[in-house]
């Protein structure tokens, strides 16, 4: 890593990356989740993209670029040793059949019950859903990575989703630029305050109720770089 200070997005992605374990098969959503791959060093964490590739890696240089090798966000990617290609039905069979360990997704809202809304905005035409609903029902663990608030400064961690929910399946973890929440016994637990954030900021910008974990830690400032 360079000496440059991470942006908020990068910080979130880096924290999410630290959740991944050896042999995990991981699907990354569009946006902040896509950045997670950058912070994974292990060659035994395997990235799956629903358009039909297991073993996605970051492009190491321009020469590796192949227009026929993209991720779900249609961005060019590389392939690691041991990668494989398959059709979309097989790819979603992997997802729905619970063969993907972790999905890291962005969201518009996440609520007290653990539901997320990340595919549609009320009042607008619903013109796209992509793989979000399938990932929600199928992945063993769902980590939501998002800014804590939207562009208007409103909390995205709401009492109850006002946007259409993506699934009735509850998510397991939320990572924002301010905090990390984990879902335990049907409740949100604040387990970490992110570096450069304060507990007060988390309180001020979180709409849903949560418990504060006994082991609450301020994340190591080293994460910033």
């Amino acid at each position: 890593m360079s000496d440059e200070v991470l942006t908020a997005k990068e910080l979130i992605a880096k924290r999410a990356a630290s959740e991944l374990k050896e042999n995990h098969v991981v699907n990354l959503g569009i946006g902040i989740p896509t950045l997670v791959a950058k912070y994974v060093q292990s060659d035994s964490i395997f990235f799956h993209t629903e358009n039909g590739l297991l073993g996605v890696k970051e492009l190491s240089d321009e020469s590796e670029y192949d227009p026929f090798r993209v991720n779900a966000g249609k961005l060019p990617v590389g392939e690691m040793l041991g990668a494989s290609y398959f059709d979309s039905a097989t790819s979603f069979a992997m997802i729905r059949g619970s063969h993907v360990d972790v999905a890291i997704l962005g969201t518009l809202q996440v609520d007290e019950e653990g539901l997320i809304a990340n595919w549609a905005v009320p009042g607008k035409n619903i013109m796209g859903v992509g793989g979000a609903m399938d990932l929600l029902v199928g992945a063993k663990k769902i980590i939501v990575t998002t800014f804590h608030t939207n562009k208007s400064g409103e909390s995205k961690l709401v009492k109850k989703c006002t946007y259409p929910i993506t699934s009735i399946r509850k998510v397991d973890m939320i990572i924002t630029e301010l905090a990390v929440f984990e879902r335990k016994n049907e409740e949100w637990h604040l387990i970490e305050v992110m570096p450069n954030a304060t507990f007060q900021q988390v309180m001020d910008h979180t709409e849903f109720s949560f418990k504060v974990d006994e082991s609450l830690t301020q994340f190591d400032k080293g994460l910033l770089r």
Partner: protein, 228 residues
């Protein structure tokens, strides 16, 4: 056995107004660009298009949309072409939006001769409205009917002269399943090789699914889409 190798125009003669077409590709990747280009030049209307997306504004299947040839579109991600929403608002086209996994699975089910299936995806969301929900072993599932088409336009990498196909990287996507789900399947390919040149173990789409083979003229390269 050169019978299946045709010019694009000849292969597309099968297509008639009112038919349902499947078109492969995830964005430009794995889309049958030559066939789509030719399709926009046909005098056919009231088409139902089953494709993950409808190109971009004025590009690919987006041209067909502008031409007013599309009656209905079934897919999972039309957001890539803002004109789809506009056409829908004007009542010009009907839209059926499916989660991408459901979209893929329904096509596979159609090709496999099934009537429909039960998936957990979408249960109790906006996309399950009006659909049957059934509990199986204590879990709620949504009924989804199979999708089939009159004609499928797909993109493969290599074809042998019998019509056996292989694919290249993420260009595979919806193509192999669409090859199974239409009455007449036209495969656009980068290369036509002799029968026997593909190993029996590496063939992804066996020839019994393929009716016509067309050599690609418009191809996706590092420099974008070029005509060769």
């Amino acid at each position: 056995m050169m019978g299946k190798i045709l010019e694009a125009r000849k292969a597309l003669e099968k297509i008639q107004s009112g038919q349902t077409l499947m078109v492969g590709g995830f964005g430009l990747v794995g889309a049958p660009l030559t066939l789509i280009d030719e399709l926009t030049q046909l005098d056919v209307y009231n088409l139902t298009i089953i494709s993950n997306n409808l190109g971009e504004a004025g590009k690919g299947l987006g041209i067909l949309l502008r031409q007013g040839k599309i009656k209905k579109a079934i897919g999972s991600y039309f957001t890539s072409n803002r004109e789809v929403g506009d056409a829908y608002n004007k009542g010009e086209i009907d839209i059926q939006l499916l989660p991408q996994g459901t979209f893929a699975e329904s096509i596979r089910a159609g090709g496999a001769g099934l009537g429909g299936y039960y998936t957990r995806t979408g249960v109790d969301t906006e996309l399950s409205k009006g659909k049957e929900i059934r509990e199986i072993n204590g879990v709620r599932y949504l009924f989804e009917p199979a999708l089939t088409a009159d004609v499928a336009l797909i993109k493969a990498h290599k074809a042998d002269k019998l019509g056996n196909l292989t694919y290249y990287k993420t260009g595979r996507n919806f193509n192999p399943i669409m090859a199974t789900a239409a009455k007449y399947v036209i495969a656009e390919v980068d290369e036509i090789v002799d029968t026997g040149a593909l190993s029996p173990e590496e063939i992804v789409t066996p020839h019994l699914f393929v009716n016509a083979i067309v050599l690609s003229k418009k191809i996706l390269t590092k420099e974008g889409v070029v005509t060769r």
